[in-house]
Structure formats: C-alpha cells, structure tokens
Amino acid sequence: AEPERTTYIVHVAKSEMPEAFEHHTVWYQSSLKSVSDSAEMIYTYDNAIHGYATRLTAEEARLLETQEGILAVLPEARYELH
C-alpha cells in the first residue's frame, strides 16, 4: 500500500542556500526532489517563515530534515474557529 502522506511545513535556513543555486525556490525544489520524486510544493513562504509546505511520507520527512539548511519539518496542524 502507498505509504501515507501528510502535509509538512519545511522551515529552511535561507542564508545557508548553496552557491550552486540562483534562487531559493530552486534550492527548495531540488531538496524536495532529493527525497521524493512526486512531492509538490503547496506553498512557498518568505515573510512569515522561510520555507515551504508539501506532502511527504514520514520517512521522506525524516530524510529531508537531515539535509543541510533544513531547520525543521513540522507536521501541519488543524486550527479551530473560537
């Protein structure tokens, strides 16, 4: 069975972008592709955080978190109206 995917918010240390990349979103894309062929970026963030949202398996999330420049891969949370 296809391993379950969930949404993660990937926090990136933008200042650690490798020289090889022109733009941080290209870097993000490359780092994502290195752990998952199929994962897409749902959002990229630049003001609230530096990073992006994507859907990964738990194993892909764990692998991504070990990468250079990745600060945290936090699972999405659901908030309720009060």
Partner: protein, 650 residues
C-alpha cells in the same frame, strides 16, 4: 455591533479618536472564513482613497470579483491549497472557492473589528440599534483560511505571509489549535514575523473554559483575548405548572406557542438512547415528544442542533439546560422553534418538577431585549483560563472584551443557526465566543494605533492592558460566570478593556524584537529554534543570565520554585504622556507574600524611560500544591493609573 460601543464608552469619545486620515489609514487583516461583501458593514461611504502603502489585492474566485472590494473592504484573498491537500477538493456546491464567506463567522468578526455604521440593525428585532465596528474608519482585508474541513496551518501561514507583504497594521485571528511550543506553533511563528514588521497580532484565547490552563495562543508577542458579557440580555423565562418561574434566554422569533400551559417531558424519558437527555439526532421518540415542550441537556452537539432535533420529532418547544460545565452562563440562540436556555440550577429544579409531577406543564415567556443588566461585564464561563501552560511566568490571558451574545454582520449563504435546515437569511447575527472578543480588541488596537501611529505593537497592547478595569463602578470585583465569585487574573488577565482610557495610558511597558529574542534565550532555544521561529541566526550572550520573568511584560507571573522564597522582577516604563511623577501602590491578596517596589516613586520627562524592581517574598507556600495567589501593582500620577496584575504560583 450594537450596544458594545456604548458599553465601551466609544459613543462618548468619538472626538477623542482622530477622524483624520490616520484613523482611516489603519488596515486590519482578518484571517477567518472570508467575507460577505454585500453586507452594509462594508459600505465605504465617507472613506478617502485606499492608503498609499497598501499592497494587497482583491482576488477573483467563485461568486467574488475585484468589484466586491471597495475603500472599506480593500483586500480579499483565499487560501485553500492546504485544506485540499489534506482533505481533497472542496465541494463547490457547498463552499465558494473565493474570499466569499459561506459560514458567517468571518463576516461577523471583520464587521466587529471595523464595520461601518449601519442604522436599524438587529436579529429578528433582537439587539436592535445602530451597528458599528470598533474602528469604523479602519480598512479591512480578509484572508479566508477556514473551510468546512477546518483551518489548516499551511493555509494560515500562507495568509500571514501575504498579509505581511500586503502591509496590514493589525492581524485578527479568532482561531486556535492545541498547545505546542512556540517554535512548533505556526500561528505563533507567523505572529512573530508579523510583530517584527510592527503588526499587532490579536488572537482569541479559546472557549475551553472554565478549565484551568486551557488557553490557546499564549505567545508573549500575541495579544490573547478572553471573553466577557455585555449589559444586555434576551430573557425568556420558564413558567412551570407549579407556579414557579425560572430565568432563561433566547433569540427565538417565529410562530408563538399557545397561551395555555403545554405538556412537558424530559428528553431522557422520551428516548431509548442512553444519552437521550442530550437530544442528539435520531434519539427522541416522536410518540413521546409530539405536541410537547422537551427539556434537553447541553453537551455533545450544538445547542441549535438540539432544537432542530426536537422540532423534527414533533416537539413544540425546548428548554435547554446547562450542565456543570457551563454553570449559570446563559448564551442565547436563534433557535428554529420556541426555545430557551436555563442555567444549571434552574435546570435541576425543573427536572425535579418533571420527575415529581403527575402531569407536568410549562410555558415559555419571551421578553425581547433588555439592557442595563448588572453586574456586567462578567467573565464568560467558556472563556479559556490561565495559567500559560507553555511559560507560566507570562501571565495570560492579557485581557477580556465583549464576547457573549454579540450582534454583527453575517453571510447570506447560511441561516443564523448555521444549520443546513435553517432557510432564514439575515444581515446580522448574534453569536458568542472568544472569536467575538478578539476582533473587539483588534479594532480597538487599530483605534489606538491610529491615534499613536509611532507606537509598537507591544506599546499598543500595554496601553490596552494597563488601563483595563478589574472592578465595577460599585467597587466590587469583576465576577466569573463559572463560579459566581470574583474572577482572578488567570480569568480576566489585566481586566476588561477600556479603550477610552487606553488612548492615554500615561506609561507603557514597551518591548522590542530583541527583548523577545532575549526571552527565547531564557527558554534555551537552540540556534535552529531561533532560525525556525525568528528566521535569523541569533547568538544568546553566554555571559548573561537570561530569565523569562525579565521580559518587560505588562503583567507579572511569579513562580516560586521549590526552595525559593524570594523572586525579583525588573520592568522598564516609558512615559508616553506629559512629564509627571508616578507613585507605586501594590496589593497582595495573600498575607504570606510580601511585595515591595523599588523605587516607590518615578519622575519622568516626556518620552523618558525609567526602571524599577519588584520583589516578592513568600513566607511559606500554602498547603495546597500548585496554589495561586494574586495581587496588583499600580503606578499613578493622580490622573493616569497604570495597572498590572500579579499571579503567584507555588
């Protein structure tokens, strides 16, 4: 809203709030369920051009185009990718893929914060009057992040990301999640970035009260708002066949009940289900309730849902009884059938009658809208309570504002109960929650910001907190609806907001980004945590001993660790008024805690900063473990009172 402006003194002080462009240059971003742009609350008559610094947009989508925006509603965006990634495509027969509000909640909160003046507002005649937001001249930008499936953090973060880029001045979030460390809570993370850009972030404290430690949104860079009542009610009393009457509340408007007393039955005795007393869908026996009034207990399902269940089973009306969880707090609803809500004590007495009378009968008498209700405000039982479960030394909630039975704008996609069976359509609706108190503070913060554009978010919040009141005009302490006794700083924070006083607070406890970073050092954040939360490298000073209680917060959360009997905090006050001399006075409700302030007198030139220290000495912890004591520190120059609550925990 109607009544709240009067209750808050905004009607008397219209001239105190600048009508100049600064008042209409403040932009409030509302993250919620979107907006119903046709609501008169977003009429832009009399408003000047859109502020030049505005970078936002009015996005096009289902049933929504740029034409729906104007000089009041200057921005509208929607964020659904996170929700759809999690749950699959939204059902477009039920939800609009656009900023359009299909729920009502977002229109209610946005119009509470900054709605234009609308005369002749009411819900079926209830709460009639002129409706207006707190900041009638502020602009509104809505960011739709909540969908039928919920509000997902990836969407919320995308909205905050955009709101920062759009240049809002205040962010209003009437939503919350579970408790998580600040660097793992995406509302806290987004709010930190917003704060750095000078944006005040106001959030609802949560409706998990009166349970202790039940707060949401407790980060110190967030303004955390609890809920209190107004001096308005909608009485609908229960008249039993034994001649006794019991108070209740209701917003029912529709076909009247017969004048004669009607047969009365307890739902628990008209159902085969174990939880039949709760009037859950499909649990009532029609043959036992048809033609009768049914007594249901609160719990498990929505209050209005219970009314719908009784109506479907042939019941003529409903009496809805509080349980211990809600105590005597009465929240009015626009039920689909003649119904009233009664407190726990009344509910118990009515059940006693039901169980002892051979042929119990009842009448429900609707009395419409009553104002001048006292005591008010009372802390709402549902309002979440401190202490701050992440950092107990940061006393939360910050303050309370009106959050019970609040009338404001509504969506035309849905009825006032929100139930699918409710085909009624209204311009305004009356609902309750800290979702309602938060936009009150968001709008009031915008008012303060318009009068003091140079103030930081922390200074605006300080002004709202240090001028909040904790006693009624009679001198009696604010009451807690959950206990009927005086509330404490863990319930009401600094007290109930008083915007007129907040305009001119005298002194403020200001905070910079670096102060917050020092706070994170005290929490032993790693460099990675700093990068996650603050998007920067930050090196704590190894030679410094950081302490969370060092944060220049306008309240004191004192924690006596085991073995420590003396705790000392320092604070810095900034004079935002004329030069003056302020004297300290401190009260402690616990004789075992001595509180001293040094120096006792501070003289300020204009804009001058002065520091003081406050020392708490405990001569022994109370017998009960995890006990709380309270106190209050006030600085006064005879004209201004700069009040800060103190909570003490052993």
């Amino acid at each position: 809203t109607t009544r709240t402006p009067l209750f808050l003194g905004l009607d008397k002080s219209a001239d105190m709030f600048p009508d100049s462009s600064s008042a209409s240059d403040v932009i409030i971003g509302v993250l919620d369920t979107g907006v119903w742009p046709e609501s008169k609350s977003f009429d832009d008559a009399g408003l000047g051009p859109i502020p030049s610094g505005w970078k936002g947009e009015c996005e096009t989508g289902t049933n929504f185009t740029a034409k729906n925006c104007n000089r009041k509603l200057i921005g509208a965006r929607y964020f659904v990718s996170g929700c759809e990634a999690m749950l699959g495509p939204i059902n477009e027969t039920e939800e609009s893929r656009s900023p359009r509000d299909d729920d009502g909640h977002g229109t209610h909160t946005a119009s509470t914060a900054a709605g234009s003046v609308v005369s002749g507002a009411s819900l079926f005649g209830y709460a009639a009057g002129t409706a207006r937001g707190m900041a009638t001249r502020a602009r509104v930008a809505v960011y739709k992040v909540c969908w039928k499936g919920g509000c997902f953090s990836s969407d919320i973060l995308a909205a905050i990301d955009k709101a920062i880029a759009d240049n809002v001045n205040v962010l209003s979030l009437s939503l919350g999640g579970g408790v998580a460390d600040y660097f793992r809570d995406h509302v806290a993370i987004g709010a930190f970035s917003a704060m750095e850009k000078g944006i005040l972030v106001s959030c609802s404290a949560g409706n998990a009260g009166p349970t202790s430690g039940s707060l949401s949104n407790v980060a110190p860079w967030i303004t955390t708002v609890g809920a209190g009542t107004l001096d308005r009610d909608f009485p609908a009393y229960v008249s039993l066949g034994n001649g006794l009457n019991y108070s209740g509340v209701s917003l029912y408007r529709g076909s009247a009940l017969p004048d004669s007393p009607l047969p009365f039955v307890y739902a628990g005795n008209a159902s085969n289900a174990t939880n039949g007393n709760l009037c859950v869908t499909g649990t009532l026996s029609p043959e036992k309730v048809a033609g009768k009034i049914v007594l249901c207990d609160r719990g498990l399902t929505a209050r209005v849902q219970k009314g719908s269940v009784v109506k479907s089973a042939g019941g003529l009306g409903m009496v809805l009884s509080n349980t211990a969880a809600n105590g005597e707090e009465l929240v009015a609803d626009a039920h689909l059938l003649p119904a009233t809500a009664v407190g726990e004590k009344a509910g118990d007495a009515i059940k006693k009658y039901l169980f002892t009378s051979a042929k119990p009968t009842v009448k429900i008498v609707f009395e419409g809208t009553k104002v001048g209700i006292q005591p008010s405000p009372v802390v709402a039982a549902f309002s979440s309570r401190g202490p701050n479960s992440i950092t107990p030394q940061i006393l939360k909630p910050d303050l309370i504002a009106p959050g019970v039975n609040i009338l404001a704008g509504w969506s035309k996609s849905v009825g006032p109960t929100g139930l699918p069976v409710d085909g009624r359509r209204v311009d305004f609706n009356i609902i309750s929650g800290t979702s309602m108190s938060c936009p009150h503070v968001s709008g009031l913060a915008a008012l303060i910001k318009s009068a003091h554009p140079e103030w930081s978010p922390a200074a605006v919040r300080s002004a709202l907190m240090t001028t909040a009141y904790t006693v009624y005009k009679t001198g009696a302490k604010l009451q807690d609806s959950a206990t009927g006794k005086p509330s404490t700083p863990l319930d009401h924070g600094s007290g109930h907001v008083d915007p007129v006083a907040a305009l001119n607070p005298g002194l403020v406890y200001d905070l910079s980004v670096d102060d917050y970073l020092g706070f994170l050092c005290a929490l032993n954040y790693s460099s990675s945590d700093f990068l996650t939360l603050a998007r920067r490298k930050f090196q704590c000073d190894a030679s410094r001993r950081y302490s969370v209680s060092e944060l220049n917060y306008p309240s004191f959360g004192v924690v006596f660790g085991s073995g420590s009997s003396v705790v000392k905090h320092t604070r810095t006050l900034t004079n935002v008024g004329p030069a003056g001399t302020y004297k300290a006075s401190v009260t402690s409700e616990n004789s075992s805690v001595k509180i001293s302030v040094e120096p006792q007198v501070l003289s300020f030139k204009e804009n001058e900063k002065k520091s003081f220290s406050i020392t708490f000495s405990s001569s022994g912890s109370p017998q009960r473990v995890n006990a709380f004591g309270f106190g209050r520190l006030e600085w006064s120059d005879g004209k201004h009172v700069v009040g800060t609550p103190i909570s003490i925990n052993w």
